[in-house]
Structures are given as C-alpha cells and as structure tokens.
Symmetry: C2
Amino acid sequence: MISQRMYELGSKKSTIREIFEYAKQRAAIVGSENIFDFSIGNPSVPPPDCVNDSIREILATEDSTQTHGYTTAHGDPIARAAVAQFVNQKFGTDYTADHFYITVGAAASIRICLAALTNPGDEYIIFAPFFPEYAVWVEDAGAKLNVVPADTDSFQIDFAALKQQINAHTKGIIVNSPNNPSGAVYSLDTIKQLAQILKEASQEYGHPIFLIADEPYREIVYDGIQVPHLPLYYPNTLICYSYSKALSLPGERIGYILVPPSVLRFADVYAAICGGGRVLGYVNAPSLFQKVIARCGDQTSDISVYKKNRDLLYDGLTKMGYTCVKPGGTFYLFPRCLEADAVYFCKKAQQYDLLLVPGDDFACPGHFRIAYCVPTERIERALPVFARLAKDYGL
Amino acid sequence: MISQRMYELGSKKSTIREIFEYAKQRAAIVGSENIFDFSIGNPSVPPPDCVNDSIREILATEDSTQTHGYTTAHGDPIARAAVAQFVNQKFGTDYTADHFYITVGAAASIRICLAALTNPGDEYIIFAPFFPEYAVWVEDAGAKLNVVPADTDSFQIDFAALKQQINAHTKGIIVNSPNNPSGAVYSLDTIKQLAQILKEASQEYGHPIFLIADEPYREIVYDGIQVPHLPLYYPNTLICYSYSKALSLPGERIGYILVPPSVLRFADVYAAICGGGRVLGYVNAPSLFQKVIARCGDQTSDISVYKKNRDLLYDGLTKMGYTCVKPGGTFYLFPRCLEADAVYFCKKAQQYDLLLVPGDDFACPGHFRIAYCVPTERIERALPVFARLAKDYGL
C-alpha cells in the first residue's frame, strides 16, 4: 500500500534520536544540568549579529513582496555573486555567480548532486567514519555505496583500500573534511594522493570520477589549519556547502553547490544539477536567507568556544588514558572506546549520564563520538565523570 | 557521464521561463510599463503585516540559537499545533499537531507524498489542465502518470474518462482545486462523485487509492465560495498545502502535509512520509518561517486585489467575445484562444506585447492562461490591447 522502504526509514529511530529522547526522560528525573548530552551536532553558539541585523535591515528597506518572493531556481543572482566573492577571497579563485547553485542546505546539495550524476549501475565510494545519511541518499539516487574502512590511526585515507574499491562503475567519491565524526581534516598530502588516484582511475575507465565534497565544517578549524580548496587539486570536484554549522543557521536550510569551471562539460553538469533540484521538488532556497548569506556569508559565529571545548576535552581525556586522534576541526571528538563493543561502552557511559554515540553509527566500531558543541562549563563538569568511567576500566 | 534526464530537465527552458526572458529584453526596448506580462503566478500583493512584525518580534524576544536551529524533521511541535488549530477553525475538524508534517513548500509536500506512497509499477491519475511539474515529480518517483482530458465546458471532472483510467495499478489521484491554470474550484457535487468512484475502485482493487490534494490556492476564492475539505468526503486524502500564494511567501518555501487520522494505517503512512522527506534531503522546513506560520498562518495577504482583477478581466474579455469559464478562485483566467493553435495565438498576442501562456503547457490545447496577479492598472491598460487582438480575429 505504501513504500515499505520509506516506512522503515521514517519509523526506525536513529541512535542519536533515541539518545535524545532518553535524555529528555532522564532530565526529568535528575535535572537537565546533570545530563551530559554529547549526542547532537547542533551549534551551541548563536549566529553572528550580522544575521539578525541583516534581517531587520532587509525588512526595513526592501520591498516585502520581493523579499519573500520566488528567486530563480538556482538562486538569486546577487546572492550567488556575493557567495562567489566570499569564496574567491578565501581561496584566491575567480569564480562568478554562474558557478554557484544556492540550495536548501548541504543535505539538499548532496542529494541534488547525486541525482544529477547518477545513472543505473553507478557506484559511489565513501570513507569510514561517515555521516550515515549519505548511505540513504546514495541508495535513493539508485546507486550502490562502497565503504572504505577507516584508517583509525589518523583518519586520513587508506589508499590501498581505496584502490581496491574503484572500478568501472565508480561515479564518484564522497569526502567530508573536516570530518563528522572524527574531526579530522585531510592534509594537503592526502588530497594530492587522492587527486592522483582519481585522475589515473578516470583515465583508466574513460570517464571522470567526481569528487563530491561535503564541507559544512570548513570554517570550524583550529591551530591555523586551512582546509585546502579541492578544485585546485582535482578538477572534477563539486563542493557542497552549508551555513548550518559555522554560521549557526542549521534550521534555516541554506547552502550551495559550487560547480567549478574546471569540471568536465561544466555547462552540462550545471544543467543536470538544475534538473536534480527540480525533480526533488526544490523550487528555490529560502529567499530571505539568500539575502542574509549575501550579507553575512563571509562571517562565522564565535568558533573560539569550540576550540576551548576541544582543548579541554582532548587534553583531559588523553591524560586519563583515553586515546584519540586530535581533531583539526568540527565540534566532534572520536576517541577509542575502552572496550571493543562501542554500543556496550556507550550504554555503560549512559549509566554515568554521559550520552555518547557509538562509532558503529558511523561505520567505525570501537570508537565513540562526543559532540562538544555545548556550554564549556558542561565539559568541565563532565571530565570527572569521564575519569570515573575510565577508572571502571582500570585506567 | 551524468544523468541525461536531469540534464534535459535542467537545460530545457519552460515556456514560462522563455516568456520571462523575452519580457526582459522587450522591456529594455519599449519600457517595462508597456509590456503586459501575464505569464507568471507570483503574488503581486505583499504578505500581511503579521509576517514581518512576527519576524521582528521573534528576533527581539527569542533565543537566536534556537530561532535558527534545527527543528524535528516533521516540524516544530508549536508550529504543528498552531497549524492544526487554524485548520480546525476553518473546517470544524479536530486535528492535532501529530497530523501535520511541515514542509519546504507544496512542491516538497507533493514530492514527499509520492516518495512515501510509490512502489514499482504504480500509477497516478491527474486531470487536465494541470501544472506541468506534477508529471516531472511522478516520473521521478518511479510511477506512471495518466492524464484525464479536460472537461473544457466547466473544468470540473469528466467522470466517464476518469473511470477508464483507473486500474489495479492506480495508487493515487492528484487534484488541484482551486486549479492552476483554470481557476476552477471543484463543486461539492464533483467531490462527492469523485469520492464515490474512488471508494468503489479501492474496494474493487483491494487497496486504497489516495487522493493527493494540492491546495496552495485554497484561500484565494471569490463570490463566497468555500473550498470543501476533502478528508470529510474521502478518508484516504493527503492535503499538500503551501503558504506561497495566499500568504505571499513563495520564496520562503513553507507549507505542510496534512495526514488526517481517517487515512488507512495512519501511523504507517505518516512514517512513510517522514521517510520520504529524509531520502529527498529535506532535513526540516525553514525554522524561522515555521515560527512565522505559527503566528500568521490564519491570515492572508489582501486578496481583494485579485478579485478586482478577475472581475475586470473576465467582464472585459467576455464582452469582447472571448469565451471563458468564470474562475471561482486562484489568480488565473483560462480563456479559449481565438484560433485552434494556442501556441500560435500566444505568439500573435506577443506582437501586441501581451504575454500569455499557451494551454498546451498545461495539457489543455486551445486555451491560454492569464496570470492576473499584477497591478490593477496594468489590466486596465491591457484591456484595449486584448480588444485589438480580438478585432484581428474578426470579433
């Protein structure tokens, strides 16, 4: 009567959703201040003042019918031009408005790219650990997903494993650096090696293998790290961006797809992206927020809070004996569990009111994710609890 | 290398888009005040003050991280409760928040419903004339679309033709009343007959045939017409609503799906809709505008302008000898062309700088659409031009 697959996708609760509901119940008993909920990647700092100031100014000065009216499907030309300028400033590129397609957030960006590129029989490759919705979107686009196991020593790329996965059906590779959940940022060396392998494979199989780069955390990096701009290293790259994380606008659903002019048959690819947006029912990205990003898209919320949280947690946990690859960005830490079974470990942590997500959810067992986009004082109070958990395991 | 179908959908310009671009070029020559552009269904009156006032108030009083933060995927509970209350007030129903799924506009609503319901081999039925994107969405959901030819005498339903189209594969019927492009509103008699046929066919084939009702124009009706609430007549109805037209918020992409409790296996259908939203990449509807509709969803922009425009145009054109079913709602008029070929007729009208859309675009040749969501004075100035066109045809 209905689609069984949609029923299952809509009714099966994700682990994160289950934790979220447990947290609410538990908070009612012990008080929300005593729950250490590290499960959700929801920015904890407000957007910069520019956002609300811009909204007020737009409402005060612009024609209301226009402000809330349709834009062209690929985005208001002024917003696209502004975004191009911001990207050019950051990366020294020379993009124009014509290289951008404004979207209803990064999820839409990725889903649209998959629709635009996929033909029956196509396959995509992704590196563990990864955000589980990628698998849902790839499957829904009618393609097969192949997973390259994590290189848990560095959360860079296991290139030997990658080479085994590439074949004649490979349409694209999805990368997410800075990475959710590991926080790892791909090094320049990693990117150059990846580009080389993809160039060779594209040549071998006689068609481009696209790099789909999901970059919502691009601005949330520490210690002077700069996220390299992938199209400068690999021409057939599509950048999927979102203002959800760095600008703290996750609910407003605003982002873009950058189709660099280096992409083979650029005009055709851009047109296919327009077609993808159309079939999925995306008429245009929210119009008021297109105007907002045209004004504030080069700003970020106060990211120093996340840096402080990372340092506190990373230093604290490693001193206790936890092992963890130091993350260069995002607001996630992805340490090794203190026992083999991450699900069991997270259940045990839950007894201490530490709410963590097992790495199994990100195709990387044996680890757990801490989303440290929370008030710093919560981390300060959580550290002794992590210590008690470690002590239980004999550390 | 890419999806040929997406390329074609993204690169082929729609007739309306072509007219839009012609209008810009022509305006540069003769001045925009001398172009009578009746091609686009973009509301011409601003949203009610409630919209911008609410935005200012939300920014002034609520926590900014929260305001722009994720909501649950099916929508903020407060927004869903408010929408339920507004619908209950209007139709005397007793819906709750749990019956609503807030979406990124009506296009998203329809596309999600199709994803939720469709299994391989399914078919949908639609009545001409219809908005052409329905065909794109049905095809993309993997189903076949069957078109019931228009009853051009009334733009109600040709039930004999409908009965011929229903078969064991029919999963649903898409209706759009008030209708784009005809402006027709289904009478209670039409709805009762339709419900009866669908009940009988559901029984005959042993599965429910869903009624998917696209109702963005529900509030834009004249002469005391009330759009009947379909679930009161047919239990397996899904209502797809949008605040684009009556609240003049087309660019903000905000609407909902109403899944009435009368729907067979309600919980499963609602879950499948959640799954549909998920696979298509709709994370949540824009959060600020969820709050706006919670405050303003029972209001409309000043619809009296459209009424005035309809009367002026309908009375004017019929006096000149044009024939037209008098529309009960929307901001469209759909008269018969003065020659058989609507495309040619619209080309001829274009020579007078009257920009009209041929009915062929809505699967209803021999007619043309006038979108009268324009300033009234433009209609006043256009009437003599329509008269000259009529004179050319010997009227």
